[in-house]
Amino acid sequence: MSTKTGRIVGVNGNMVTAEFDLAVHQNEVAYVVVEDLRLIAEVIRVRGRYADLQVFEDTAGLKVGGRVEFADEMLSVELGPGLLTQVYDGLQNPLPAIAEQCGFFLPKGLQLVALPRETEWDFTPKAAKGDVVRAGDTLGTVPEGIFDHWIMVPFGMQGSYRVTKIAPAGVYRVEDEIAVLEDDRGLHSITMMQKWPVKRPIRAYVERLRPTEQLVTKMRILDTLVPVAKGGTYCIPGPFGAGKTVLQQLTSRHADADVVIIAACGERAGEVVETLREFPVLIDPRTGRSLMERTVIICNTSSMPVAAREASVYTAVTIAEYYRQMGLNVLLLADSTSRWAQALREMSGRLEEIPGEEAFPAYLESVIAAFYERAGIVVLNNGTVGSVTIGGTVSPAGGDFEEPVTQSTLKVVGAFHGLSRARSDARRYPAIDPLDSWSKYPSIVPGDQLDRAKRILRDGHEVQEMMKVVEEAGTSMDDFLIYLKAEYLDAVYLQQDAYDEVDGSTSAERQKHVFNIMNTILDSELEFAEKDAARRFFQSLTQVTRDWNRVSMETEEFRLMEGRIHDMLAEVTKNA
């Protein structure tokens, strides 16, 4: 037990002020004792002999004079085999294990181990006695679900070490010693598990690369129009009911990532329950195994303690970085970063800091930037490449993108997927606004084709606005056709039926193929006697194309329908 102790001198919501005697350090973990419970807390400010702690649990019952124990370590998570398929709270307590032990409710003051201690793993050594290794080097592997989980030299170990002992192939538990390393300070025993402070990025790699390779999500509007790159960052702001969470859920299912970390931060419990109950029975088409096998869920829903929300996004990103260190492509989905920002605001208010805009703390921007900067694609010690991609939703107050969290996020992300109320009201899903949204990453389709499509979307929108004033009759046939083409592209390509098995996920190959045909259609000079005929043509073309979207690409029917679209087009194309 720690010898560093303190006494409570004040309680204000989830902030406790404690008087201490021996040195404490910023962000140190402390335990606040109430009756027979120890509530976990973190030092967030030190003034004189007083430390302000944010308590990650309900503070009811705390008394002035109560005991505080300082743990002499920063808030950390356990890293090792057994993380995949787990459902944790923001502080890495496994929720199913809590349910088993405590029933329906989340009790106070309970800390369980994150990694199962009794599970046996089949260890294969990769390093040999006498090898010289440094932090992040692989000592051996164990199979975890679909991957080889690398057992690495702990990331916090400075300098280089000589392997003096390595365990032979065999079955071990996470706390068993699998290697002994030596340097001039002495011998170091290594197990399959290591701890890492969540607020510090893992830097055991050689170099960072620029993200250029697409992370295919199988959603056409994303991959084609506003793409995401492996190791990149993106944000999804949108008013309530526009479909942020549904979009995240779809991405978590279909994205071309090896590991998906879902951080449900301060949102509805019901939505997490859907993932919890459905993922184990959904099959990942890439591996043929259950989706849960590539997933870790960090779940700190809105009714769970507020301060732990802040911890939850860091816990999630640390686990993401850990799997990146194994040369995997990891996707972290955080829903919603606004709730995390609100937790910062609550704490800042209790600390009586001078508030910034809308009472958010002045350091909001740098905290958000530091979080997104933990994404990246890196070259590891052994030359393999791994990546962490971060996608965060933002829930702007009143649906207004001018608010501080959205604005701070936009400055640091590589892609902006803005959801629009107008599109979701019109049931155009995904409700990403194709005109406002942007991405700095390369698309899966050729640039010239994309530019043309974007131009038509923009021009079509202008024509539509104009028609509201001058009526259809006042619009020229050429303008009217641009409008119809834009609407067509929107209806059959940008919109996607998430509930259809085929249309719900479109492979990159199919997107390229179809987008090429879209371009032919957008490029064609069409001839119609009157506007009604033009509208009727595009209505039926839309109908046929949507049916085509629902047909699997491998079938004969796919080719037949494609032919039919070409035939329909040929009938109305101007003869040169």
Partner: protein, 450 residues
């Protein structure tokens, strides 16, 4: 044993400060003066300074009032004996029944472990077509009615409560007008539902801070009954008063406000209440239906805005009707596939046509030329509003779906609706004259004019 303190060092708003030791955060105290005794709760500890919010307000409290700490947190009695009774927010009887103090349970207890929740799967029938057909209410859902003062939101709540097939109804009134309180009580009594209801009522004339207790008490009792396997419906009206009370306390505590004076933790405060809605794995459920009156009819106001981010959809009640646009039940797709096979088709078709009607109406008001199709839409929209949206309509879901087909058949030819042929063959009414020409149209407008 319990120490008594006689020296209040500060009184501001509904907040008092005393110097005391060995007091727990969140602990209760009795504040007694010549005016009577009021319950208070510790909301800040700073050395020896203990700050309390006084639930019945500080009016008339002298600096030498007696403050006695009770050494316990907020609790309320919970047993079958509550059924049919009316209480204040702090559990004191409003009716002539006895005070209950057995089976005390903690208020504002811990959150439910997400691993012990299940995906909701049972529809709650309300008899209101705009809900049952278009935005089905689902057991364990949390759903607010967004409305403005003057709309019949309390009547809608009462209607839903009476129609819903639940075991227990708990009404939480916050800042309720006395008339409305009597309306709820008398309606429940007249329909024979009072015996399965519990009312916690804070009226507009009661001290503001007391209304903070209402949702927590209601939800704690509801949770207890749900754990015993009961299906509980909690009605909360009006959550705007609750949020305003939070604002008042926060301002008195000199907290930095975030948006229009509301505290930065408004989202968390509302969420910790709404998230009590739950379907337990292996026990009962809590469904929460709340009223949020939107100040200035502005949905971006912090109260409805934060609420919308928390709840699973919302009903807009405007001009005495539940609006089909904007209203949303996020859980409806969990249940509306298994009701009747035409349910989703009727739901989508009628709303799409109603949206087209709104466009036609706009064209008409701008003086644009109306096509034959526009006229059909206008006829349809009028009938739809009259027979479906009208809140006086109280029919089961199946009858409402039939009514939907009848309205469609009265206004359109089958192929104009975009309904799949299979369903047309099965459901399109044959008895009603199909609207293939002017005959049907003319007949109908006369009927309406009459």
């Amino acid at each position: 044993m319990r120490k008594v303190y006689h020296e209040i060092t500060q009184i501001a708003g509904n907040i008092i400060t005393v110097e005391a030791t060995d007091v727990g955060y969140g602990e209760l105290a009795d504040v007694t003066s010549d005016n009577g005794t009021s319950l208070a709760q510790v909301i800040r500890l700073e050395g020896d300074r203990v700050t309390l919010q006084v639930f019945s307000g500080t009016r008339g409290i002298p600096t030498n009032a007696e403050v006695r700490f009770l050494g316990e947190r907020l609790r309320t009695s919970c047993s079958e004996a509550l059924l049919g009774r009316v209480f204040t927010g702090s559990g004191i009887p409003r009716d002539k029944g006895p005070v209950l103090d057995d089976n005390m349970i903690e208020i504002g207890g811990p959150a439910v472990n997400p691993a012990k929740r299940i995906i909701p799967r049972n529809m709650i029938r309300t008899g209101i077509p705009m809900i049952d057909v278009f935005n089905s209410l689902v057991e364990s859902q949390k759903l607010p009615i967004f409305s403005v003062a003057g709309e019949p939101y309390n009547e809608v709540l009462a209607r839903i409560a009476l129609n819903a097939e639940v075991d227990i109804i708990i009404l939480g009134g916050m800042g309720l007008k006395y008339d409305d309180y009597l309306y709820f009580r008398d309606t429940l009594e007249a329909e024979g539902a009072l015996s399965r209801s519990i009312l916690y009522v804070h009226t507009a004339s009661d001290p503001v801070v007391e209304c903070l207790l209402v949702p927590d008490t209601c939800l704690a009792v509801a949770e207890k009954f749900a754990l015993d396997g009961k299906r509980v419906l909690v009605l909360l009206t009006d959550m705007t008063n609750f949020a305003d009370a939070l604002k008042e306390v926060a301002i008195t505590m000199e907290q930095i406000p975030s948006n229009r004076g509301y505290p930065g933790d408004l989202y968390s405060q509302l969420a910790s209440r709404y998230e009590k809605a739950v379907d337990f794995d292996g026990a009962g459920s809590v469904t929460v239906l709340a009223v949020t009156t939107m100040p200035g009819d502005d949905v971006t106001h912090p109260i409805p805005d934060n609420t919308g981010y928390i709840t699973e959809g919302q009903f807009y009640l405007r001009n005495g009707r539940i609006e089909p646009f904007g209203s949303l039940s996020r859980l409806k797709q969990q249940v509306n596939a298994d009701t009747r096979e035409d349910h989703r088709t009727i739901m989508n078709t009628m709303i799409q046509l109603y949206a087209a009607y709104k466009e036609a109406l706009e064209k008409q008001s701008m003086g644009f030329r109306m096509s034959a199709w526009d006229l059909k839409l206008i006829k349809y929209g009028t009938i739809f509003e009259d027979r479906m949206m009208n809140l006086a309509v109280n029919i089961p879901l199946e009858r409402a779906l039939d009514l939907g087909w009848e309205i469609l058949a009265e206004c359109f030819a089958p192929e104009e609706t975009g309904v799949p042929t299979r369903l047309i063959e099965q459901f399109w009414p044959t008895t009603v004259a199909t609207a293939d020409g002017s005959g049907g149209d003319g007949g109908d407008s006369e009927e309406r004019a009459a």
